[in-house]
Amino acid sequence: MAWPTMSTGALDPLIHDPERLRIVATLAALPDGDALSATRLQDTTGLTPGGQITRLRKLDRAGYVRTEKAGGDRAQITVALTCDGRAARDRYTSVLRQLPRGARDDHQAPAPDVRVGDADRDAAAAGPG
């Protein structure tokens, strides 16, 4: 039950920060290439405008998000995840997936050997007769 692959540093600290994680997760849920207005993003993240700008700047500098000023009557900023940002988010979730099983499983969930038993039973049910 050693933890060979996960070092503390493996959880990208840029994404692990709870507020930045919220931003990245929200943007990652958009269809690829889609952008969100900063105001809409704020509705989801619950951050203050200033707080959000600070985090976006950090993610922008890392190349994880792209912010653009959209035209129109009112200068509006749109935010999108870049390819790098999406890849970083994928890496982050795969590191989380390496957590020991007990951390992710619902305790009510059947243990793997129970599932084997189910398969046996199903096989028996489908057997001769």
Partner: protein
Amino acid sequence: MTDELDPLIHVPTRLKIVATLAALPDGDSLSFTRLQDMLGLTPGNLIIQLRKLEEAGYLSSEKTRNGSAQKTTVALTRQGRKALDAYTQALRDLLGGL
């Protein structure tokens, strides 16, 4: 907006400790040295993180004396397990399943 990510668990080192202890069968504990080996932490760092988690009631530690050697074992409490469940659920909500 999803639930808050429990800051006590969110720190990577503590997340590793809690997740490792949660993977043990219910009621099992792990010795301090074994936990240290598994996570590759310095004794000092591990002690600090364990103390924080114990103060929050997330884990319990027990000292046993065997002759001159003292052994400390740690285990996740029911409250700690609950907190980790809530934490993983919040992460799942955020990241769309893990």
